[in-house]
């Protein structure tokens, strides 16, 4: 049967009047989509090569370029959309699993968008966050049900209970685990520097620790995943906390695979594997087949780090998330990370990314509730990840019961990412998801850090605005304060799971 060409996804339109033939677009496209025709003295694009990263559009000094979606549709069918047809064609041609990157883009219902926030009117004053103190500092780690105090001979009250190690966040937003390999060193440096400036944490991901990041230890969480890349005792002790990764929202239940050709000299050094070998992260940790095995690993890490660092455990939000979370806490996790169905990734099978897991809004609500019911909520902090897009999502997540959130995609977007979903190709024009030195240098970590700091500071301001509006001046008064939330257009069972009332209902 005849092979049909799959139509280009994007069209790159160029206003020839505006084009000054600077050829920046030609020089800069890593996919080689743009070219210059000497004879015609004009610049053209091979649309089929365009992935829609918008880099040329952003760089064009005269705004001559517009990258747009190809309005072409095979047929306007509601069920058999062009996307499905094209996927089928690709698979019919290759016989392969569809690969994709970044977060779930199916139009699942966003519960964050159906939750509204409260504000003070008359009965209590709202607080001006710019002028009055407004505190968003958050500590992650094991807390006590009861602190024992004692009095010394001078009558001063002293703390008797020993406090478990904590992570101190000046803003309750951290940067998600993204490994060296999946993102460039410059991207990591941007995250690290921003974390340091703002007073929060970034996460090395499972790819080991590039030496350039060692100096950011006091703002770093090191991750231990099934591949154990780059993991040794120095690594465990290099950061402020250790995070065991069981799963991630984009691909619950499956592992990772960094192809050998991407294992460069530098990656080899940090992953501690020979240059050119495949870096395989198995789906499970092969020393964890059950909850008690998790406990064993947690305590092995605690031993190795002399109980000086919080140990966290990250899982994907799946159907049974609440009991699993409770088990993790009882197994000794000082903080747990729940990554929802919209979590991002460098590469995942499309079918997994788009169809496995549950929305984070439910996950955090049921986990928080379950831990409270079991009386162990204080034993671990809850960090929420997976599709946090703005400060409102942060606020809602915290009010639903999170202590802090992780952002990955949002951070990458701040660095330039346009979600073209082609990270797995390693040719990221924005210099983020690539190791090509020609491309990585496009991300200047000074600019990157500045943009991330701006983002976090902006969110911080917004969080403070909202807190002030609610008449509270400390984030702990928001944490789990579901009274501040109301659902709009949600069913009763959804409201029940979220633990919130419908809009219109008073206290």
């Amino acid at each position: 049967m005849a092979k049909g060409k799959i139509p280009p996804e994007f069209l790159v339109e160029r206003d020839d009047y505006k084009c000054v033939r600077c050829l920046a677009c030609v020089r800069l496209c890593s996919y080689g989509a743009n070219y210059y025709d000497e004879n015609a003295k004009r610049v053209y694009t091979e649309n089929r090569k365009c992935v829609g990263c918008h880099f040329c559009e952003a760089m064009c000094p005269t705004e001559a370029i517009t990258v747009m979606r190809n309005p072409f549709e095979i047929k306007p069918l509601a069920h058999w959309t062009s996307e499905h047809l094209i996927d089928i064609m690709k698979q019919a041609e290759t016989g392969g699993v569809l690969l994709t990157s970044m977060g779930n883009d199916r139009p699942y219902f966003s519960y964050f968008d159906r939750i509204v926030l409260n504000a003070s009117q008359v009965t209590n004053p709202s607080i001006d966050p710019l002028r009055e103190p407004m505190e968003v500092r958050t500590y992650l780690g094991r807390k006590q049900m009861k602190l024992d105090l004692e009095e010394d001979e001078e009558g001063r009250v002293l703390l008797k209970t020993e406090i478990a190690p904590q992570l101190k966040l000046e803003v309750p937003v951290m940067f998600s685990a993204m490994s060296y390999g999946s993102i460039s060193l410059n991207a990591m440096l941007s995250l690290a520097e921003a974390a340091k400036t703002v007073g929060t944490y970034f996460n090395t991901g499972e790819g080991g620790l590039p030496k350039e990041l060692k100096r950011y230890g006091s703002n770093m969480i090191v991750q231990v995943a099934s591949g154990r890349f780059g993991v040794n005792v120095d690594y465990l002790n290099a950061g402020s906390a250790v995070e065991i990764k069981i799963g991630q929202g984009a691909k619950p239940g499956i592992g990772g695979h960094l192809p050998g050709e991407k294992v460069t000299e530098a990656i080899s050094e940090t992953r501690m594997i020979p240059v050119g070998t495949d870096a395989l992260s198995p789906a499970p940790h092969h020393d964890i087949y059950s909850i008690e095995d998790l406990r064993q690993l947690i305590y092995a890490i605690k031993e190795a780090t002399r109980y000086e660092k919080p140990v966290g455990v990250k899982i994907a939000a799946v159907h049974n998330v609440a009991p699993i979370a409770a088990g993790m806490v009882r197994a000794g996790a000082d903080y747990i990370v729940i990554d929802g169905i919209r979590g991002g990734t460098g590469a995942a099978p499309k079918v997994t990314r788009d169809h496995v897991g549950i929305p984070i809004e439910f996950a955090v609500a049921v986990v928080d509730q379950r831990l409270r019911e079991e009386g162990i909520r204080h034993m671990a902090s809850v960090v929420v990840a997976g599709g946090i897009r703005n400060s409102a999502d942060v606020i809602k997540a915290i009010a639903l019961g999170a202590d802090a959130v992780y952002i990955g995609t949002a951070a990458l977007v701040a660095l330039g990412c346009h979600l073209c979903q082609r990270c797995y190709l390693g040719k990221c024009n924005w210099g983020i998801a690539t190791q090509d030195p020609k491309l990585t240098k496009r991300l200047n970590p000074e600019i990157g850090a500045r943009r991330l700091v701006n983002l976090l500071r902006a969110w911080e301001h917004e969080i403070k605005e909202i807190l002030g509006g609610m008449g509270i001046n400390a984030i702990e008064s928001l944490r789990g304060n579901r009274d501040m939330l109301r659902g709009v257009g949600l069913h009763e069972y959804e409201l029940k799971l979220l633990g919130i009332k419908p809009a219109g209902e008073a206290w």
């Binding site: 710019l130 002028r131 009055e132 103190p133 301001h461």
Partner: protein, 245 residues
């Protein structure tokens, strides 16, 4: 002159009586046994002198435009709330939000005052509000202040030896605060800075210090002998970078 005994009176009763006396052209009204009656002098527009013995209630002299009120005793919250002109002299201490949104006139407090003194005070045209506090003040002095003059003399210090509380001048974008005695840098809102007053600056202050000393019997030279600091906003746009486009 008319005398009123306010003992056991509800504020409506008391204030009706005062309004009536003012309406009848009385120039001086003395009220005895004031205790918690609110809104005394509120909205009065005539130049009349009201002497109060006791503790008046909240919002003393609110929206007042002309009268002089002298209180022999402490005052509660909200003295001189949105006052337009006139004068309030307190031979005691004052509560919170002293001179809230005050646009003109003068308030003299012999003792200390509470939180948010001079909050939102603003000068307008010929109006120039002035607050003079003899003792210390609590947090948020001059919050949102947009104009006028606040003078804290620190003749009495708080339990930690301070003249001001925390968050001084937060949100301040106009006017001046003079403090006699030191102010710690870390207690300042991010909008204000400490300046050394010039001779011109001090010349603006001296008449009010003098008046204060005359009112409460302090030695002017002694009061002036200690160093003053001047707190002023240093930028009109402290939040310039706060908003995205």
């Amino acid at each position: 002159m008319v005398g009123i005994d306010a003992k056991g009176w509800h504020y409506r009763e008391l204030n009706e009586t005062i309004w009536k006396a003012v309406g009848e052209g009385e120039n001086e009204i003395i009220v005895e046994n004031v205790c918690g009656q609110r809104y005394i002098g509120a909205g009065l527009k005539r130049k009349v002198k009201i002497l109060l013995n006791g503790v008046p209630g909240n919002d003393l002299g609110a929206f007042m435009d002309g009268p002089e009120i002298v209180v022999y005793g402490n005052c509660q919250d909200g003295v001189g709330n949105t006052m337009n002109s006139g004068k309030i002299v307190i031979h005691g201490c004052a509560g919170d939000i002293l001179g809230y949104s005050m646009r003109g006139g003068q308030i003299y407090v012999k003792g200390h005052a509470g939180y948010r003194v001079g909050i939102h005070m603003k000068a307008y045209k010929e109006r120039y509000p002035v607050i003079v506090v003899g003792g210390f003040v609590r947090d948020f002095l001059g919050e949102y202040m947009a104009g006028g003059l606040i003078l804290i003399l620190g003749l009495e210090r708080d339990e930690d030896g301070n003249v001001t509380g925390d968050f001084v001048g937060t949100g301040m974008h106009g006017g001046e605060i003079f403090v006699r005695g030191p102010v710690e840098e870390r207690k300042l809102g991010k909008e204000v800075k400490i300046f050394e007053p010039t001779i011109d600056d001090m010349n603006r202050v001296t008449p009010y210090v003098k008046e204060f000393c005359d009112l409460f019997g302090y030695n002017f030279e002694e009061v002036m002998s200690e160093k003053f600091v001047l707190l002023k906003p240093y930028t009109h746009r402290p939040y310039g970078r706060l908003y995205a486009y």
